[in-house]
Subunit: 331 residues, 2 copies
């Protein structure tokens, strides 16, 4: 049995972490919930019990075995080392340690072996990275990836509870005939799409796009993999979709690609175009697996495929991946 | 002065055609409005006047100089030849004649010269084709296109009045806590994205995706251009966005690409990432030009660029393009 801390327990990922710990019957001895001072004192529900949310502070991690961090990067940088010092293993969802060469960046189905080398912190990739890399891994194993062009359709839950609330609030304002005011996102998100997630760098790419490139390379251990990213926010609540064009060294035929995807743990294939069967975010919300559809050979280049992959941003894209990591750690 | 017929006058494109004819002071002598039997008897407004919508039938095009068709392909196939026989030039928005080698497929800024050879029918491209091909043309002229990967984010207006109504109806149902029932689209469109527009072919591509490939090739007169398409419906009302990855034979630097786009008629550049300035569909709705932003050199391949282009589906994507064609024809 394990003593657990959930840091960022009132956030969208924290809430989902509590839910999935319960669903998967994670062997919890004691669970403590932490959040920023602003949220401390609220309660969260775990396994039918109300748990009071505590503020972070010195010594709070004493006795903790596993700490799930789904707070911001600044909080992770401050408190994760304290948790490690107190003897806990930190499973961090923020971007703080992802590219640290001493920290493994893990998607359990893909690179569980990287956990061996952890020094107290294990990082989980960005949600869009996870959804994109899940089908890339079996494709690489079968045909060796040469280049990837990825275009994302990202749900507002990726921006947390505030993102979800903004889409809800703007949509209700529209229904009442009122003005739609942006607060969280840089522009109106209801009935709009915004090709801008995270900060812009000098070369015009966003932080989100750079994360996708760097994290996929680290997870697949392909430091030079050619990846061309475009990440876009869409007015969807909780699942991310990615349109992927992937070129491999060896040709992978359409039917073979479907078989390869279907055989990979955590990946399912919904691809019966004649029956209008392919994944959409609404269908995938609440599912643990990532779903691939619209598998097509690319007529514009030999050895390339187009496909469409959808994953629940809060589950496989965040909370579930962290819990899968913890399950391996406590084994 | 010109005698005009608008066929499909009660549809989304027909309505926009009437509005733009008025805005641009098109030299209309007489305007007649046609629609299916179901809509005949309704009225439409043109230049402050109520015009009764007439049903199509034998002889209706006598005396017509220019007939704008924004009806379905079946109606276009039946009635466009009758209009031509009656002496009219038909500007058709449907897919009926687009790939007919005897029919020019025209985006005036790109291939007005093709109008010279018309035999009574001029075809307008699919809305997504127009928005995508507008920036591709100047890029090709500057660097010769080698390959294009295009991923679209298409508004519901592309499915006509029924598409607009479905997004509205589902969103209002959501606001009332009611079930969201799909009728027009194959799945729920509110708070969802659907990678399926038009029918599926054997190879897994949709009709919309094949149109994009075939029409871009015809307009640019590059019958072998390598194009890899993914077309997706998003819960946006009226403007289409496309994420484009374009590889050229000669390298085009980022700043040069912006200049090339900005210099092309009908294209504008909104690309100041530091100020969160890039086009989104809500900003572009109601605009005649197409807008390019997020211009980036592609780190994954030499001589490739990523960019984002947005155009009003009902205007440049449909009605405006047709009227621009007619303006050239009557000149």
């Amino acid at each position: 049995m394990t003593n657990i801390a959930v840091v960022g327990a009132t956030g969208a990922v924290g809430q989902t972490t509590l839910k999935i710990l319960e669903e998967r019957k994670f062997p919890v001895a004691r669970l403590r919930a932490f959040a920023s001072a602003r949220s401390a004192g609220k309660t969260v529900t775990f396994a039918g019990e109300q748990i009071r949310v505590e503020p972070l502070g010195p010594g709070v991690f004493e006795g903790t075995d596993v700490a799930f961090f789904s707070a911001g990067s600044a909080q992770a940088r401050e408190y994760a080392p304290q948790a490690v010092k107190a003897g806990a293993v930190v499973v961090d969802k923020s971007s703080a340690f992802r590219m640290d060469p001493d920290v493994p960046l893990v998607v359990p189905e893909i690179n569980a072996h990287a956990l061996r080398d952890h020094r107290g912190i294990v990082s989980c990739p960005n949600c869009t990275t996870i959804v994109t890399v899940m089908p890339l891994k079996p494709l690489h194993d079968a045909g060796r990836l040469r280049r990837v062009v990825a275009t994302s359709f990202q749900a507002v839950s990726g921006a947390g509870v505030d993102g979800i609330e903004e889409l809800r609030r703007q949509t209700l304002a529209w229904a009442r005939g009122e003005a739609l005011v942006p607060e969280k996102f840089p522009h109106q998100i209801a009935f709009n799409v915004i090709p801008h997630i995270d900060q812009f760098a000098e070369d015009g790419y966003t932080g989100e796009e750079k994360k996708l490139v760097n994290e996929v390379r680290k997870i697949l251990e392909l430091p030079d993999l050619a990846i061309s990213p475009t990440t876009v926010r869409v007015p969807v609540f909780t699942a991310h979709s990615v349109a992927v064009n992937a070129e491999t060294e060896r040709k992978i035929a359409r039917e073979q690609a479907r078989d390869i995807f279907a055989a990979f743990p955590g990946l399912r294939v919904w691809d019966a175009p004649g029956e209008a069967r392919y994944p959409t975010p609404v269908m995938v919300e609440g599912q643990d697996d990532c779903f691939v559809g619209r598998v097509r050979e690319d007529p514009s280049r030999a050895n390339a495929l187009n496909f469409w992959v959808v994953g629940d941003q809060l589950r496989k894209g965040a909370a579930l991946n962290g819990i899968q990591v913890a399950e391996l750690l406590i084994r």
